[in-house]
Amino acid sequence: MVLRKTLTDAEITEQRELIAGVFKMTLHAPEIARTAKPGNFLQVKAAKANTLLRRPLGIADAEGDNISLIYRKIGKGTAELAELQQGDIVSILGALGNSFDESFKNPLLVGGGMGLSPLLFYAQAHKNAAVLMGGRTSSEIFWEDIFKPFAKEIFIATEDGSKGEKGFNVALLPKLLKSGKYDGVIACGPDPMMKKAVDIAREYSVPVEVSLERRMGCGLGACLSCAIDTANGRKKVCKDGPVFKGEEVFF
């Protein structure tokens, strides 16, 4: 079923800087909170914005009437969002895009950096997911505390070895999949991480999905800013994705 998309103003109930440059914005958005599925995203802008276009942000959790977005301040649009405070209004368009496969019994979520944001929503909804997270250094593993209430198991790797195993998170993936405990992999993060996760999952014949990030204009499949080639032809990341089967994507 394709859900009706809505355009609404939502009040910020909380905005918090989790670590330097990374923010969690919680919004009162009952309709979207009730209908959104893990993998969906929103097109967001401040109600009184100086920037023109909306910014696509994955939904990080939905609880009651509220949804949260976890995002890094990387440009003018996200900087403008980061300035907003409790009580301010943002305009949201959503929920957009397709969603992850939730039919796996024992999914393994593989995430790096801000890619962990939509995976959090998955862990929260599924309740039986394990997560393999990666970051450059221990401070980027603030996600561990956020995932703890929802994830069955948490595996960690950091590039500098300051937390968990030293190296990339995907280096732990062969061992985890070899155990045979996991019947699906859901990956979101930098392209090289997702490529590696897809290669390894396929090697172990475990179904794998990835969530892609692209610059977007409309978020509705009209402007074609985010069109990509896939094994199944041209696709729009905003409308046909952002979730794709691993084997579909040309990394």
């Binding site: 355009l7 023109l52 069109a227």
Partner: protein
């Protein structure tokens, strides 16, 4: 019922003179959750070419002050797919459909115009001003003789009204508008995007995959408005004004400058309901200023020049 926005353009009965600009509204269906498509004047669908096109690779969009650059490069499924798959699917929306076409030769415009001479297509807009494709495109849009040749060829091959979409990347828009009129175009639409670029100061590279792209959005509105004003002074055929229109007030300026209808582009990306909101704003304005019809305000800013030429 408020009929103040009703108009007729190129044989199309329109509930409002608000059209959507090609490339910014998909095939209409993408916005069906937000807009009653039959309440629009027309939906101009994504630029269509004879063969499918994948468009440009790399980054295709970049925000700029009060605007955006794009270099999509006319990605589209091709005329056959449009006619066989898409057109039958969008018929249910009961909207006027304008098909924007691009050719790499004069003959190709004729072939496309002929293919599109079918039920369900209300008019054909000739895109001679896409800045993002190497062959054809902009060449036809900057040389009045070539533009005229394209119009003549399309007119010869179809009974549908022909709209020539003008490029702003010319020295004198009046010359291009006049060339279109003299060649038999039923209307002109303007403006297409202005060629621009952006450079990433950290990577030292152009932001867009195609290096340059088309600038649109509020930043181009004053340029578009000036060109519509000038074109109105040069031709009698209907003008569809567009370029950065983001509010009813913006749209009103174009009518006052002499546009018979307006098209909304980039603003659809920001607010998918913007076309409906602009229609409401236009109705309120007419009521406030005691006009019965949108037609009553066309060209009012022209003073003694009111009317055509």
């Amino acid at each position: 019922m408020d009929t103040s926005l009703n108009t007729n353009l190129l044989g199309m009965d329109m509930k409002s003179p608000v059209i959507t600009a090609s490339g910014t509204f998909g095939f209409g269906e993408e916005f069906a959750d937000f807009v009653d498509l039959s309440s629009l004047g027309a939906v101009t669908v994504k630029g269509t070419t004879l063969k499918p096109r994948a468009g440009n690779s790399g980054v295709r969009i970049a925000e700029t002050p009060a605007g955006m650059l794009n270099c999509i490069g006319l990605e589209n499924p091709g005329a056959d797919a449009f006619l066989n798959d898409i057109l039958p699917r969008i018929k249910k929306y009961n909207m006027n459909v304008i098909v924007n076409i691009s050719g790499s030769t004069v003959e190709e415009y004729g072939i496309l115009a002929e293919m599109l001479d079918v039920d369900g297509v209300n008019a054909v807009e000739l895109n001679v001003s896409c800045p993002n494709v190497k062959e054809g495109g902009i060449v036809f849009g900057t040389d009045p003789k070539m533009a005229a040749a394209v119009v003549t060829e399309a007119k010869r091959k179809t009974k549908k009204p022909i709209i020539l979409k003008l490029s702003p990347n010319v020295t004198d828009i009046k010359v291009m508008a006049k060339a279109a009129e003299d060649a038999g175009a039923d209307a002109v639409s303007l403006i297409n995007t202005l060629i621009g670029m952006a450079i990433d100061v950290n990577t030292f590279k152009p932001v867009l995959g195609n290096v340059t792209g088309g600038l649109s959005g509020p930043a181009v509105k004053p340029v578009a408005l000036r060109m519509v004003y000038e074109a109105r002074g040069a031709v009698k055929i209907p003008i569809i004004g567009m370029g950065g229109i983001s509010s009813a007030e913006d749209a009103i300026e174009f009518f006052l400058a002499g546009a018979d209808a307006v098209a909304i582009g980039t603003a659809n990306f920001v607010n998918p309901k913007i076309t409906t909101e602009i229609c409401e704003g236009l109705k309120n304005y007419l009521k406030e200023k005691n006009f019965n019809s949108i037609k009553d305000i066309i060209g009012l800013a022209r003073g003694e020049m009111n009317g055509r030429r």
